[in-house]
């Protein structure tokens, strides 16, 4: 088992994770991607990609392979690993996998999402027997056969078009009224023109059945309640996705649907040095390009986090003499005014005490860790511990000198 400490460990090798790996490794951070399967995530099982800027057309597997190659070009390592949990307290974090344990200063979570299971009778029973959530995986089975697609978002409509290349007939069951789908208009228009797709409106599938393999579905009209039996060989279910975040329960903050909650500016989770990118986080638009954007942000913020923490440890926590840490901001008049008093104390104390200034606007995390609620505030450190806090009103050269001398 390796004892190497990575700067950045990325859990999940989809577009978000691979972009984070590219940015981190290009910034010369020691970077590892932990991916349980093939690189690309959901992108790898998407047939057509036509909204990745600068690439007019590509396939999902092609683009995935290129993204991995790009990250590796700058030195990112890729390890096949199924992560089962993280320990994220403290600067050096632990990632537990089925094959081993990994140590890293920061973690970028990009575990993505997986197809939602509807939960209708027969759905579970006929999995692998005609119920499918992946058209690229299973389309080959349906040459000259009939399939039904349930759903009407981008995934459902695009995969229905893909299936027309294989199946004899493709019927899309849509819960909305005639002509209305949730898919992007450009995708919907193309599908409406496709003569090989049939549409059933105002309806859903209430049951899937057959003898060993799928032979029929019950199509239910949601307005009339009428249920019609329909013969089919396969059912492709595309009714949204659910985040893959179970392993973070109790560790990272998530909403009631399981999406991880982060600061949308920085991708920072509730744990210092842990970032979340892509489809597994709470966000407005889940696309390859937005996941990639998240990844770039997270890698950049992670780099800043590592530097700040390492600098703070080196300048404050690991020094032999007492340290006065002045929390201030150049934009605050009060903290500008208090500086001469603080500098004066250091002049009197000489080399026996060190001064470190922390701009609270730039480094909110360390300020919050020491409960800095107003500036200026001076915190006295000795041997890595915060000993005393001096608020604005008490900051004077004499007071600081006497407090520091007490520690010597």
């Amino acid at each position: 088992m390796s004892t190497k400490i990575y700067d950045v460990a990325i859990i999940g090798g989809g577009p978000g994770g691979l972009t984070a790996a590219l940015y981190a490794s290009r910034s010369k951070l020691a970077t590892v991607i932990l991916e349980k399967g093939q690189a690309g995530g959901q992108l790898a099982t998407t047939e057509e990609i036509e909204n990745w800027p600068g690439t007019i057309h590509s396939t999902g597997p092609e683009l995935s392979a290129k993204m991995l190659e790009h990250a590796q070009k700058f030195g990112a390592e890729s390890i096949r690993e199924d992560v089962i949990g993280i320990e994220a307290d403290g600067f050096i974090k632990t990632i537990k996998g089925r094959n081993g344990e990994y140590k890293a200063k920061s973690i970028i979570v990009s575990t993505g999402a997986e197809p939602r299971i509807l939960g209708i009778p027969g759905e579970r029973e006929f999995r692998g027997k005609g119920v499918s959530y992946c058209a690229t995986c299973d389309a080959d089975f349906y040459e000259e056969l009939d399939v039904v697609v349930l759903g009407n978002g981008d995934a459902a409509v695009e995969e229905a078009m893909y299936l027309t290349k294989f199946a004899e007939t493709v019927t899309v069951v849509v819960i909305h009224e005639e002509g209305k789908v949730d898919a992007t208009p450009v995708v919907a228009e193309r599908a409406f023109k496709n003569k090989n797709i049939k549409w059933i409106w105002n309806s859903t599938i209430s049951e899937i059945g057959g003898d060993g393999i799928v032979e029929w579905v019950k199509v239910k009209n949601i307005n009339t309640g009428e249920v019609t039996d329909m013969a089919t060989n396969g059912v492709f279910v595309f009714v949204g996705t659910v985040p893959r975040t179970k392993i973070f329960e109790g560790v990272l903050e998530m909403d009631d649907r399981g999406y991880l909650i982060v600061d949308p500016q920085t991708m920072a989770s509730n744990k210092d040095g842990v970032y979340v990118v892509g489809d597994c986080r709470q966000k407005y638009l889940r696309q390859v390009v937005t996941a990639a954007g998240d990844g770039a942000t997270a890698a950049t913020v992670a780099e800043k986090y590592i530097h700040e923490e390492e600098n703070f440890a080196e300048d404050v926590l690991e020094v032999d003499v007492p340290v006065l840490v002045a929390f201030w901001s150049p934009t605050s008049e009060a903290s500008m005014k208090s500086m001469p008093a603080i500098e004066g104390a250091i002049e009197q104390l000489g080399d026996s005490v060190k001064l470190v200034k922390i701009d609270t606007y730039r480094n909110q995390r360390i300020s919050n860790r020491y409960n800095i609620t107003s500036i200026p505030t001076v915190v006295l450190f000795n041997k890595g511990q915060a000993i005393d806090t001096v608020k604005a009103a008490e900051i004077s050269t004499d007071n600081l000198v006497s407090k520091a001398k007490a520690l010597l």
């Binding site: 349980k36 399967g37 093939q38 690309g40 790898a44 099982t45 096949r80 089925r98 579970r124 999995r127 692998g128 027997k129 005609g130 119920v131 499918s132 992946c134 690229t136 995986c137 299973d138 389309a139 080959d140 089975f141 040459e143 060993g212 393999i213 799928v214 060989n233 396969g234």
Partner: protein, 105 residues
């Protein structure tokens, strides 16, 4: 792991005497490619008691459908040519190993 196709499926699986594991997969199926190396590893561990085989369904679609396999991945277990158990959906390496132990015990 023994590569099956439409010419040898009958002789290697349906007419075999002991336990046979068949991993149904396809080069277009990402979850299958995720699982396959784990199954191969289990083959090294349990190969003496069970014959480990893989069937690329793009080369033998009708054979797979004949075995009532209409989606991937599927890991099926045969004894004396008869299908005794089957794993479908999200298949973990642990679930495959647990099933092997259950069947062999």
């Amino acid at each position: 792991m023994l590569a099956l196709d439409k010419t040898n499926f009958n002789s290697e699986v349906l007419e075999a005497d002991g336990w046979v594991l068949v991993d149904f997969w396809s080069p277009k199926c990402e979850p299958c490619k995720e699982l396959k190396p784990h199954v191969e590893k289990l083959g090294e561990k349990y190969g003496e008691q069970m014959k480990f085989c893989g069937l690329d369904i793009t080369k033998a679609r009708r054979v797979a459908i004949g075995q009532k396999v209409m989606g991937l991945p599927v890991v099926a277990f045969y004894l004396g040519g008869e299908k005794k158990a089957e794993l479908t959906g999200e298949i973990t390496p642990e679930a495959v190993e647990a099933k092997i132990n259950e069947l062999l015990s």
